[in-house]
């Protein structure tokens, strides 16, 4: 996220009031900024200054409330982050949720995690040369710890469509957009015919990829962001999403986030206490990942053309569906690995 110029305080009286209700009427809010690439939610960065001591926070508000939205309600995101944080995972500390008194809609405030999220800078920037060789190992360790979180705490996710059957959930989304796309249909058909025999069940982050990891040039992975796709399922789904071609950027021939091989990731995951998965099972979930990303691009297109949420970036996502279909077909045909 790249912050733009500081926002006028007067435009954020509601945010300031919400913060003072929780953190004390004597605190000041300063340096309010709205970052680029905030994604699905409206994101605001700000400092809270308490008796001369400043700490940076992030506010996230839901903007897209399509009843068919595949994203977790913000209250559930907050709960999932809370559990992960309490188990010592590198999650920005969840601070408070907005309520009706705040007039901020649905959303929450967390501590700000400093670092870089732009994949290409992490993959190729000289500043990250020292930390880069450690990143896949750290990611594998974090994934193993996420997947080891006690399932009993996540009953509230059990009825999410993605928790019941993630493949059907995405096909239902696709069907809802009423735009027949034979390449995506072929992807679904292949996934249906090649379903893994047994599926383990764990809590999944659901969107664990390089762009959602905050990386500090000295310390490594300092935060795991964007928990809005959390659900229950096979850990192999998270591992496969991490390797999905769309997230390799500068390193298309190194499946694990464009940084290492699948086997490097799987070995590190096992060494960190994670389960055993073979590379072919990860490949299955990478095909799923490409289908899923194509459907997410269709979702952005749908929001745009239906008028619910118009915008340049969403229009571009609609057209980019074809690029993901190309990667999917090249992979299905065996031209890409």
């Amino acid at each position: 996220m790249t912050a733009q110029a500081t926002e006028p305080l007067a435009a954020h009286a509601d945010l300031i009031a919400a913060v003072r209700r929780r953190l004390g009427s004597g605190v000041d809010v300063e340096n309010i900024a709205i970052p680029t690439l905030g994604g699905i939610n409206r994101t605001i960065l700000f400092d809270v200054v308490d008796r001369g001591h400043a700490r940076r926070y992030v506010s996230r508000q839901e903007t897209y409330v399509d009843p068919d939205s595949p994203f977790l309600p913000t209250g559930d995101q907050f709960r999932a982050m809370r559990i992960a944080f309490d188990h010592g995972l590198p999650v920005p500390e969840p601070v408070f949720e907005y309520d009706t008194t705040d007039g901020m809609g649905n959303g929450f405030v967390t501590a700000f995690a400093a670092g870089e999220t732009m994949p290409k800078r992490i993959q190729t920037g000289a500043a990250f040369d020292a930390v880069r060789p450690r990143l896949v190992g750290e990611a594998a360790d974090i994934l193993a710890r996420i997947h080891a979180l006690p399932l009993a705490g996540f009953d509230f996710l059990g009825h999410r469509p993605g928790s019941v059957d993630t493949l059907s959930a995405h096909r239902d989304l696709y069907d809802g957009y009423r735009q027949p796309r034979p390449a995506i249909e072929a992807g679904f058909r292949w996934l249906e015919r090649n379903r893994p025999d047994t599926v383990d069940r764990a809590f999944l982050h659901g969107d664990f990829r390089l762009g959602n990891l905050m990386v500090d040039a000295a310390l490594g992975i300092s935060g795991v962001l964007d928990w809005e796709c959390a659900h229950l399922g096979s850990p192999a789904e998270d591992l496969g999403w991490f390797c999905t071609r769309s997230w390799r950027f500068a390193g298309p021939n190194r499946p694990a986030a464009g940084l290492a091989s699948r086997q490097d990731l799987l070995d590190a995951y096992r060494a960190a206490g994670g389960g055993f998965y073979d590379a072919d099972e990860i490949r299955y979930w990478e095909i799923f990942g490409l289908v899923r990303f194509a459907v997410l691009n269709m979702m952005q297109n749908h929001g745009h053309v239906s008028g619910q949420r118009r915008g340049l970036v969403y229009a571009a996502c609609g057209r980019n569906t074809a690029l993901v279909e190309y990667d999917l077909l090249m992979t299905l045909a065996g031209h890409y690995d």
């Binding site: 249909e185 057209r319 190309y326 045909a333």
Partner: protein
């Protein structure tokens, strides 16, 4: 009054390139959020320019093909299906972003 429209100059492709060049000129003066959007706007205009040169993208019978794939009626000629879909998708990528296949825009 006539429905016929005499070819005018500059043509649409030229107009799109001209607006794109203007957006590029503006980029350095814009704050991060707007600069990113200006880049996306240029990208969208590039798609329009290539689509005008290509002609409309249209596939008749996508509904029927999708239904056949879902019902398994292409399971027996899967490789041929993938080849056909790849041909069509290459055409779409050539309009959207040729560099995605390593081709020049």
């Amino acid at each position: 009054m006539t429905d016929a429209l005499r070819p005018q100059s500059p043509d649409m492709g030229d107009i799109l390139r001209t607006v794109q060049a203007f957006l590029k000129e503006c980029e350095p003066q814009l704050a991060a959020e707007s600069r990113y959007k200006a880049q996306v706007a240029s990208y969208l205009l590039g798609i329009c320019e290539r689509e005008i040169a290509h002609g409309p993208l249209r596939r008749e019978g996508a509904d029927a093909l999708c239904a056949d794939i879902r019902a398994g009626r292409h399971d027996g000629n899967w490789e041929a299906l993938l080849d056909q879909l790849l041909d069509e998708t290459r055409a779409a990528v050539r309009v959207t972003k040729p560099s995605h296949m390593g081709e020049k825009a």
